[in-house]
Structure formats: structure tokens, C-alpha cells
Symmetry: C2
DNA sequence: CCAAAAGTGTTCATGGTACACCCATGG
DNA sequence: CCATGGGTGTACCATGAACACTTTTGG
């Protein structure tokens, strides 16, 4: 019969944005509304078919930019999902989609908020609606990987701006890991790894002692992906 | 033009076998000879196109069995490789293959040695010839993952039989990690994790004190793959 | 008795955790 | 002067590395 396998690339995109009430930063991710069957009308991860001459990561990057107008600070392949029934469509029972999923970290400044529309919306990562296909589980896995890497790499850098205080860096860790960290110990651990470089500037204007600003040490990789380097 | 993307599943299969001279176990992996262009005649990872109704892991499992007559003790997705030029064939310049690669651990008993043929041969993992496509790099990455997981999981269990001495378990770690481990500390670390259960049998016949036999604690997962469980 | 590996005990360095305490600023 | 977070000091504990030492077998 007309059986066929479609290869698609989707991306779980994370950014930090202030919580609407508390103003504390929390994890958000953009979703797109499906405009065709199956699961028409449901929210889903941004993605689409792989271009015939396009690299996998390039496809993720392109789609990410089309959806959010942003360039990822960090991009990594997450997993290939291919259960035969995961994209089942009763109108096309013999069709099937294998999705190669990437996950990305972006720096969501105010400008990116403007690209929201009826078909693109950011959701808090801990309050995502019921999504199309197996996308809820994919997001769970992406969150697990993000939390894992947060503990032994410097990917937090990808969620912050050029300079930042150690409190801000610690807050990123705390938000992602969902637990508080001792400020004193966190400071020493970060300093010991050499992943940040002190500047001679300070964040003032708060009603407490000014905090020194740091910048990332770009000579240290964001994360260790073994023999793979953007393949 | 006639551009098309083929989706294939390949597997890096590891087993322990005695070194031809020293008789000490070393890592081996089976390769198959390509019988058609491109790279006809070169050795390559076992694999093939994904069946239209076949799960990704099932495809890896099927191919593994066809190649080695074995069932994997451990099977995990490694990575999806999709550079547009990775499978370039000058006779079919517009064709392209995306490979989803798994890696597996098997227990290679004597029976499996019989399936070698002109087109299937086992090679020592540290002495693999120049392979088709990017398969040498894929093996490097699989080895990196294997070594990583060996340090924080109990996948070594998948390379041993039902019962084993702690020396044998330690030898597996040493061979994979390519360094010696202190027997006393190794014993305590393994015992502390509860990943092995002492039996009341001993390995005798060696010219030294008999060593107690242990068995795996099946209530502990071989490795933690997060929210993914054979998806 | 000897060689060799099994198995136990002990010391030391390291890294993380908890927490007391002082510092500098805005209000 | 006080509340608040910035920043330093230190004690404690768990873990792992190094290594001395005893035990039990085959030859």
C-alpha cells in the first residue's frame, strides 16, 4: 500500500522569563498550534520536515529561528522518536513520522516577546497543556537532560546575558534544578571551575552591598559531547 | 530532481572476547562487508533500512540478531547522524541517508563465533579498519558513551554471565576503561551500591584462595535513561 | 614453603554541606 | 540604624585513593 516514513526535526526551546506575578525568572518554552491533521488545533513542538539537503542541526536552527526569531545559544540533539504508532492519523493509517528532536537554550529578550501570535505562544515549562503526539513526554525528557547537564556543565551561561552576578547565575541553577543552593558554597564551586571571569564592574542600585559582575570564560566548552562536535 | 532521504538504523555491538594471544578479555565488535555501492567491499556497521511498521529499537534488535544470532543484554540509542554529505554516492548524487545508531552489549559465548563468514567478522575495538561512511567516528562515540556509563551504572553486568567473581567484574571495568583499578577499593564500591548479590559458591581450581561468586541484583536498572524507557 | 589472588583494615586527601559571621549599600 | 543580600571563614562528613596486611588455595 502507500506506506511511507516521514522524517521530521523538532526542537524543545527553553528560555528564562519572569514569572507573571512573582517576577522571578522561570523556564518557558514556545509551542506552535497545529494547522492540519492529525491533532489539528493542538499545541505542539516547533518543527517540520527535514530539507533534502539540510543538516539535522541546521534544520533545528532554521525552525527555531522561524518560530522565535532567535538564534540558540546552545543546541544539542535530544533523541530520535520513532514508535510506529506515535503519529498515528486515522485518515492516513499507513503514514508514520520519525522525529529527531533537538533541545535548545535561548536568551529571550523583550524583542522576542513580540513574535507571539495566535499560532505561536510561550508556556511556563511546568504548566504545559496537553500536546499533540508524544510531545509532552519529549518535553519531560528534555527537562531531565537540561537538569542533568546543569549540574556538571556550564550551560547555564546560555540562559544569561554577557555579564551577570553570581546570584543571578545561582538563580538560574535554582530555577532549573528546583531547589535552593547555598550562596557561599555555590560561589566557591563556580570560582573553582574557572568558568566565570570577574569584571571590575558591580551591579548597584539594590538595597544591599553591590555585587560584582562576572563574564563567561569562553575558553571552556558549554558541555562535553565527547567525540561529537556539531556532527 | 529525484532527491530522497533514506532512513536507516545501524548498531554498534560490543562483546568481550579473549585476546588471541594473551587470552585476557578485550572488547570486540562485529562488522559486515558492504555488498553494494557506495563503499562496496568496505567493512561497515551492521544495519539496514527501517521497516515501515517497525520500531527503531526493534529494527536494531532484528539486525543485531541477523548479524550475530545474539540477543542484546543492553540496547540504547546512541545518536542520529544526518550530515547531507555523510553517505555521498557519486552514482546517486541526490540520495542521502540519515542513520539512527544504537549501541548494544552482548554476551558472546562460543556459539556466536560460528556465525563469522566472509561478510561478517569480529574485530578488536581498538583495531578497526577504515570503514565505510562515517562509521569509524560513530564507533569512537559509542566507545566514549560505553566508558562513560561504565563509571556510573552497572552495565558491566551485560558483558558477564549469570555469576562471576569480583575480579572478573573488575576486569571488565579495567578493559573498558583502559586503566587498572585497586581491587580493595573496587570491592567496597561495588558492595556499597548493592548492585551485586553474594552467592554461597566459589570459583576454585585457581592456584590461589577461592573467590566468592556473585550475581546481579536485577532490581537495580542497568542504567538510568530518565523518563525514557524503551521508547 | 611459595606465589598469587582473595579479602580486610587504616590513613589521608578532597569535595561537598551546613552554618556562623562580617561587609556595604539603599531606604 | 536596619534590612538585605554580598562575600569570607571554618568545621564536619562522605567518598575515594593509596597501601599495608592477613587469608586461603594450588603447586
Amino acid at each position: 500500500m502507500g506506506e511511507s516514513i516521514t522524517l521530521a526535526v523538532s526542537t524543545v526551546i527553553f528560555a528564562l522569563r519572569p514569572h507573571p506575578e512573582s517576577q522571578h525568572p522561570v523556564l518557558w518554552l514556545p509551542l506552535v498550534r497545529r494547522v492540519r491533521s492529525p491533532h489539528k488545533g493542538l499545541w505542539a513542538l516547533p518543527g517540520g520536515p527535514l530539507g533534502t539537503t539540510e543538516d539535522l542541526a541546521a534544520s533545528a536552527r532554521r525552525n527555531l529561528h522561524e518560530t522565535t526569531q532567535l538564534t540558540p545559544r546552545y543546541l544539542e540533539q535530544l533523541y530520535a522518536f520513532g514508535r510506529p504508532d506515535r503519529s498515528h492519523d486515522q485518515t492516513m493509517p499507513d503514514d508514520r513520522t520519525v522525529s529527531i528532536v533537538y533541545w535548545a537554550l535561548v536568551h529571550a529578550d523583550v524583542a522576542s516577546a513580540g513574535v507571539e501570535s495566535d499560532n505561536v505562544r510561550w508556556f511556563p515549562a511546568d504548566d504545559v497543556p496537553d500536546l499533540a503526539f508524544d510531545h509532552n513526554q519529549i518535553i519531560e525528557y528534555a527537562l531531565w537532560r537540561l537538569r542533568n547537564k546543569m549540574e556538571y556543565s556550564r550551560i547555564a551561561a546560555a540562559l544569561l546575558g554577557e555579564t551577570f552576578t553570581l546570584s543571578e547565575l545561582r538563580e538560574v541553577h535554582e530555577v532549573v534544578l528546583e531547589r535552593t543552593l547555598d550562596p557561599a558554597n555555590f560561589r566557591r564551586q563556580i570560582e573553582a571551575t574557572g568558568q566565570v571571569v570577574a569584571t571590575d564592574e558591580f551591579r548597584t542600585g539594590r538595597r544591599h552591598r553591590p555585587a560584582r559582575l562576572y563574564r563567561h570564560n569562553h575558553s571552556i566548552e558549554l558541555a562535553d559531547n565527547g567525540p561529537l562536535t556539531g556532527r
